[in-house]
């Protein structure tokens, strides 16, 4: 049993696909026919079986391919993974969290054995079997954060908490929606959110920071965010903008279904016990329009959301260039009938 891991790519020939089961479990981010910012944070508790929330750290059929893509990104640009000197303890906290959660959720794929500070970690999908001393960096091939995040889907930001603020002082960021860890490293919560339109005026960041600095151990929280990406490219970084930015001009009525992807981030927030920091996993899910519209409710709703999106948000999310083409394509799948409440497909 266990997950059948797909062999696929997120670059060049773009062979990434979702299986029918993975289409149905896709974390569709709209629970109504329009979208505006809200502080949409809720407790990160286990959700229904067969959903991406079945485990608090989700491992899916794209795991092996995503880890291979991350290794390629890091080989070209090691600065995608950075940890300021005071963040090593938080890295150990994260290593413990991810090993525990992956072993708990997927015992057929991951095993963690602890004997005091002597730990053995078996990762069968990636063929890893390492024994090391918890807390002793010299016993691992990388620092603790880099070691475990080369084996965990999603980006990870580790935030130091001090002076009533959060500071982006460590992270592994290779599957990002056009932001750069190398640019943001060392910034505080308000500094790294400065480019986001509209939300500052609504006081959203002040409330969000207040909430995040009060996240407690054992009580993680989560929210969904979304954007769109042309081609199933995980690494849409500013550093590589020249590789993916021009793709936005390639969308035609004929290729919308294949090229345009909804990109959803499941963001969660966890208090780290030893360092008192916060880890912020940003897990990226991609789905192409052809796959998404196999669920008629999602097709109708997405049409209405994209059509009515405020101009500032469309610009910020980089949709401006191909929005008319996409809306026209989706409109043919929207007969105007009502959509049922909630996120899930009918």
């Amino acid at each position: 049993m266990g997950i059948t891991f797909r062999k696929e790519t997120f670059r060049d020939d773009y062979t990434f696909r979702n299986s029918p089961e993975h289409i149905r479990r896709f974390p569709f981010p709209f629970n109504e026919d329009s979208y505006m910012y809200a502080v949409n944070i809720e407790p990160h508790v286990v959700g229904p079986k067969g959903s991406v929330l079945e485990n608090l750290i989700d491992v899916d059929e794209h795991y092996v391919a995503e880890m291979q893509d991350r290794a390629l990104v890091l080989a070209e640009d090691p600065l995608r993974c950075q940890s300021l000197p005071h963040m090593t303890l938080a890295g150990w906290d994260l290593l413990e969290l991810l090993m525990e959660q992956q072993a708990l959720g997927y015992p057929e794929h991951f095993t963690l054995t602890r004997d005091g500070d002597r730990w053995r970690w078996i990762n069968r999908p990636l063929g890893i079997d390492d024994t090391f001393t918890f807390g002793d960096t010299s016993t691992l091939p990388y620092g603790p954060m880099e070691y475990i995040t080369r084996q965990s889907q999603g980006d990870f930001c580790i935030l130091d908490q001090r002076d009533g603020n959060l500071w982006m002082d460590a992270g592994m960021v290779t599957t990002q929606a056009d932001w750069s860890l190398d640019f943001d490293i060392g910034m505080n919560f308000f500094e790294w959110h400065a480019p986001v339109p509209l939300a500052h005026e609504k006081g959203i960041f002040i409330r969000a920071l207040k909430f995040l600095t009060n996240i407690q151990q054992g009580k993680p929280a989560r929210r969904l965010n979304w954007t769109m990406t042309i081609n199933p490219r995980l690494d849409t970084s500013p550093e590589n903008y020249h590789k993916w930015g021009p793709d936005r001009a390639t969308v035609t009525p004929e290729n919308v279904g294949d090229k345009v992807h909804l990109r959803v981030e499941l963001q969660s927030f966890w208090r780290l016990p030893r360092s008192n920091g916060i880890v912020f996993p940003i897990r990226c899910y991609l789905i192409k329009m052809d796959e998404l519209v196999t669920q008629p409710k999602w097709a109708r709703r997405l049409h209405r959301v994209i059509r009515d999106l405020p101009e500032e948000l469309a610009t910020y999310k980089g949709l401006t260039r191909y929005r008319p083409t996409l809306v026209e394509w989706l409109s043919k799948l929207d007969d105007g009938s009502p959509t049922s409440p909630g996120f899930g497909p009918d």
Binding site: N214, Q216, K219, P273, R274, N276
Partner: protein
Amino acid sequence: MSTGTTKLDVVVSDVVPVNDLVTRFHFRRRDGELLPTFSGGAHVVVEMRDGDRTRLNPYSLMGSPLNTSEYTISVRRDDVGRGGSLFMHRSVKPGLEMVISYPVNLFSLDLRARKHLMLAGGIGITPFMAQTAQLAGSGGNFELHYTCRTASLGTYADILQQRYDRRVKLYHDDRDERIDLDRLLSTQPLGTHLYVCGPAGMINWVRDRAAALGWPSETVHFEHFAAPQPGAPFDVALAVSGKTIRVGSQQSLLEAIEAAGVDPPYLCRGGVCGQCETNVISSDGKFIHNDHWLSEEDHRSGCKIMPCVSRFEGKSLVLER
């Protein structure tokens, strides 16, 4: 009862008198599992079921964060307080089952510091017990200056000196030993962070001198849980829940609200974390603000109150709860 944290079911595994005023309590999990890992400076909120009253008091964890088989706290007996410490001293015996919160850290080490300079007064030593253990385990650079009334009331002074030798300096009030604070603060290497925990007067003195000597405020850390003070009983109307309650003289406003079945969020119960901040809808009387959370402007406005530590005297008070 609501809380910002998850609860832990524990049993008191040991009760150890430390000196005339201080007793140490050890907790283990009832299910025999390990307790959650914590960081030096963290506290837990202990629920005390005393007849039909429930008090919830915060206490710093003082064990090593490397040992999660048990948690330890030290409680100083306060004969004129609201009775929480007396309950702990008189009624809590080994074998008693209690409920405590998950650890919360509002007095965290700044791990960027090149050196950690710690100033403790009296029972304010407890968070430093855990912080020094954490730093010693990872080769951290620290120095602890500890003021106590007499040698016999120097809680854990002997243990600290055994463990850390010259990194610990003691000052006894009865021998007229005083920290030469200006000299101490003027002779620290760049990158030093200052931590202070003790009586309010000591915290204010240290913060004032540090500011006067040019220490950046983000390098000065302090923990001051204001214990709720007793006072005259008063009546409060809770507009949202439609209840009217009486706050007893030995009860905090937050405890009275909870006793009425209304559950505001909380973390520290000491006027510092801001969780239980409550809007005042109307009032006719005088607020007795004891918190460290609201601004002076908020205090003057009469529009907000921290029910964990603050009280009211007057004709009427209506809160948005």
